[in-house]
Amino acid sequence: MPDWQDSNDFGGSDLQDHSERKLIKQAQGGSSEAFGELYLRYAQRVFRYLAVHLENDQDAEDLTEEVFVKAWQALPSYRERGFPFSAFLFRVAHNTMIDYFRSAPPTTTLEGQEISSGAQPGEILVGHLESQQLRQVLRQLSTDYRQVLVLRFINDLSPRETAQVMGRSTGAVRVLQHRALAVLRVLLSKSDFNE
């Protein structure tokens, strides 16, 4: 069995470490500082999840903040009990994204892509083109296939966490992942993206 098929040795871990539990508890008690710490831990992953589905990075940045505001509002009702915080957060992210698509139809533009102070314009452009290629490939997949690939291999969630986000069994996620990778192989072989 390839290593990425295993439940925990690829991608995220199901175990919520002690410091994270402490931060969650403090945030549930109303500490915005503790929640700010959780933001630093998860913002990048939430951004990646959104950026793959959205048309540009600026929208994904704005929506990332929105996801955390919604997660903060829903935090009092969050109970760990086998449901990791990452799964809770990605579920909030998914719902926020659905709301976003309902209210604002997506557009494809390079506008709004601010140039980072540390990066060269050339690097930004290459990065943008590559992320656009990724979006182009993933857009050809069904929603479930796209979601399972993004959660597993771009967001590094374990199969169990992915199953919790998608509201499916771990077995169903494995099947879905296998089929999605098979379709991806076909798509990549047709294009020259992976050359």
Binding site: W4, S32, F35, G36, A43, R48, G118, A119, G127, S131
Partner: protein, 231 residues
């Protein structure tokens, strides 16, 4: 050949998709939040959360003062039912309290409730006749209390109760001229009734005073004086 290939690629024994997985993982590089954006967005988020918290505190403070505030539909209906239940329970409790206090004697916990209810009844009467009748009823109550206090050997409250009796008898008599101006017949009936109440009280007190210890007899004597005033 086809079949064996299919079996080989079943879910139990999946083909290796390492290339596709590596390709996906490599895409992470192109999906990065701008590093300089992270601390700024964290600060912005925390400011938003703080203002959200302040808004929640304001809302909950308003809700404390306005029980039906900001509710609508089923929530409003629920709160109205709750409010009705609270009012019903309060009414039931007040009714039971009033009933229990009817037989309270001086020195008992419910006695102040009994006195307050009498005062409340006086506050909602609007004619001298009603007032006079009520004062007579109150005088009867005080008289009954004096008898009960003697029977229960709680002599220490006799004096205070006799003073209350005197006040209510005085008030009832004081109102009789006003009643007479409105209805002389009604005034006459009330006067006879009051005399009757006091005469009965006098007979009872004259018997009871023999059972009261010497040091407490002043209270009964006070009540007797009030009863004899109409002689």
């Amino acid at each position: 050949m086809k079949l064996s290939r299919r079996n080989h690629h079943s879910i139990d024994n999946p083909p290796s998709f390492m290339e596709e997985v590596r390709w996906l993982q490599a895409q992470k590089e192109n999906l990065q939040l701008r590093p300089d954006n992270l601390p700024a967005s964290q600060q912005r988020l925390m400011n938003r959360l703080r203002s959200e918290q302040a808004r929640q505190v304001q809302l909950s403070n308003r809700r404390k003062w306005w029980p039906l505030g900001f509710a609508s539909g089923p929530a409003l209906a629920g709160r109205l039912v709750l409010l009705a239940l609270i009012l019903f329970s309060l009414a039931q409790f007040s009714f039971k309290l009033a009933r229990s206090s009817r037989f309270a004697l001086p020195g008992e916990g419910l006695y102040p409730v009994k006195i307050a209810l009498e005062q409340a009844q006086l506050a909602v009467t609007f004619s001298p006749t009603q007032d006079a009748r009520l004062y007579m009823k109150i005088a009867e109550n005080r008289s009954t209390e004096i008898e009960a206090l003697v029977m229960e050997e709680r002599y220490e409250y006799l004096q205070a109760t006799a003073i209350r009796l005197e006040k209510s008898v005085y008030q009832a008599y004081h109102l009789l001229p006003a009643v007479a101006r409105q209805s002389p017949d009604e005034a006459l009936v009330l006067m006879y009734k009051l005399d009757d109440v006091l005469a009965t009280q006098k007979i009872i007190l004259e018997v009871l005073i023999f059972y009261v210890p010497q040091q407490y007899q002043a209270g009964v004597e006070h009540a007797l004086l009030v009863s004899e005033r109409n002689d």
